[in-house]
Symmetry: C2
């Protein structure tokens, strides 16, 4: 089995949506990526940090999905990263209510020895210095490095972000962030400019409006599945990234055609994530449901037009 | 050849975008629908009204595209409908600067005798009473009636709109209007509710985010082609509707599978419309360009995933 190395937060989230609110529940980019990637045939490990307030039950939940947590540092007397947010009525925007970095403030990622030869590295949204440090520790050049980031690092750590971007193959970023990073409004132009910063593949996430994959002059689009109800968007982008990276790891194929499939798999898994609070839906998701919804994606997007030449 | 009857404004537009502004140029829903549908193999006619300030050159332009204008009333001493608008920087919203109804205020549509047996009727965005009046004049039940409308009629003529909606097969409407009409935020729920108002097929236009086609439990999605530059969105929705109705007319097939193709053809034609001011791009568009871009739509959306069962 191929190896996927995941770096990302493992955290507590407290979420308010128009449909309800939660206490502190399991969250974090690394968690969502790991759960999503676990639907593929691969070995995965999460590099992250938590405090000793992090429940054993959550650790068990990750290991039950065959996620190696030997790189998940547990800081004695430390507190786990905590984020709290409130979504607006349309669920397309949110206010952050609380961000407590806690143990994340001094996070020094350590890649487990047996994952220093990982085939694919998924750098979840974290300080670009942490992302770079993980790449520094690899003993073998990964077949593919995927990086997710956000506007916060463009505002506060742009030089470090630009540095790590030179070392990656794929960037996943949302539409507004792509515009900010490139200074271009058109996503086609934004992607072209981001290409020149390093990544050969640019994935622009548009939330409920789907995702675009750019590579040189090629472009592919995957819609989000139209749902009766989006309950909680938290983690959808990470679930998408986890599905993308997971499928690439399993298939060992980094062609553009295979990346198209990876984008569909990512969108498919993300469509489940938003149906319940936090990781709830992903925890109980069955492989049969995943396959069935892939059929829906086909029905949603595939057509037959014979083009006369 | 099958017949397509088009009802819609033939007008003057004056447009301001971040890229420039125009004087009074050719515009109107009927115009855009007619130009777009003319890329298919069919007979079409426009029912509309203008004043005698409407230049012969514009009339010639329509007849050169084989559009029958015997139902285009020219009111002596009357002035042509005039709309002026200014787009915001992101081109996703606009302010109406001027609306002069002029001859449109007393428009009494008269369907030419030789189009009272049209196969497909495309009711462009107009007062629902005008749309109903056209249906009243048909001597043979059309194979398909498509209706486009907007929020203005929901605000000012809702009972009349609900009446005409009971007589149509397909409604095309944008996302915000679908929400307004249904009182549902989720587009899946909105489409289901709009179904119950009459139309068996609901097309929800999302501008740069593509279009959704709903029919019972089935749903199909066509993205908008990602473009380097959107120059002027005016008429894109009408061009989409014209391509949709035009393809259905040509193909004489109202199955869901064929409507999928029609949605793609509509999106394809609309992707040209936005590249220049007003009808400029559509006037010069060559069939070869249309076919070539269809290939781009295939590359953009088609993928191969074998789903294990």
């Amino acid at each position: 089995m191929n190896k996927l190395l995941i770096v990302g937060t493992v955290a507590f989230d407290a979420i308010e949506t128009p449909f309800g609110k939660t206490d502190k529940i399991l969250g974090g980019a690394g968690t969502f990526i790991g759960l999503s990637a676990s639907y593929f045939n691969l070995q995965s490990a999460i590099v992250s940090v938590v405090g000793d307030d992090f429940p054993q039950e959550y650790l068990d939940l990750l290991t039950a999905r065959n996620i190696d947590i030997s790189g998940l540092e547990i800081v004695k007397g430390g507190k786990t990263f905590f984020w709290s947010g409130r979504y607006h009525n349309d669920l397309n925007s949110r206010d952050t209510l609380v961000t407590e970095l806690n143990t994340l403030a001094d996070f020094n990622p350590v890649v487990p020895q047996h994952f220093k030869d990982a085939d694919v590295v998924m750098l979840g949204n974290l300080h670009p210095i942490v992302q770079s440090s993980v790449l520094d520790q690899m003993e073998q050049k990964p077949k593919l490095v995927v990086l997710d980031t956000m506007n916060f690092w463009m505002d506060c750590a742009l030089p470090e972000l630009l540095d790590v971007m030179k070392r990656i193959d794929v960037i996943t970023i949302n539409d507004e962030e792509a515009r900010q990073l490139s200074g271009e409004y058109s996503l086609v132009k934004a992607a072209a400019k981001i290409h020149t910063m390093g990544p050969k593949y640019v994935v622009i996430k548009k939330g409920e409006h789907g995702a675009l994959l750019f590579h040189d002059k090629e472009v592919f689009f995957a819609p989000a599945l139209p749902l009766e109800e989006v309950f909680d968007p938290t983690g959808a982008g990470d679930t998408f990234a986890g599905g993308f990276a997971g499928f690439i790891t399993q298939s060992e194929n980094i062609s553009f055609d295979n990346m198209k499939k990876a984008i569909i798999h990512g969108s498919n898994l993300a469509s489940f994530c938003v149906e319940k609070f936090g990781t709830e839906r992903m925890q109980k998701l069955q492989k049969g449901e995943v396959l069935q919804r892939l059929q829906q994606f086909k029905a949603l997007t595939q057509f037959e037009i014979e083009i006369e030449s």
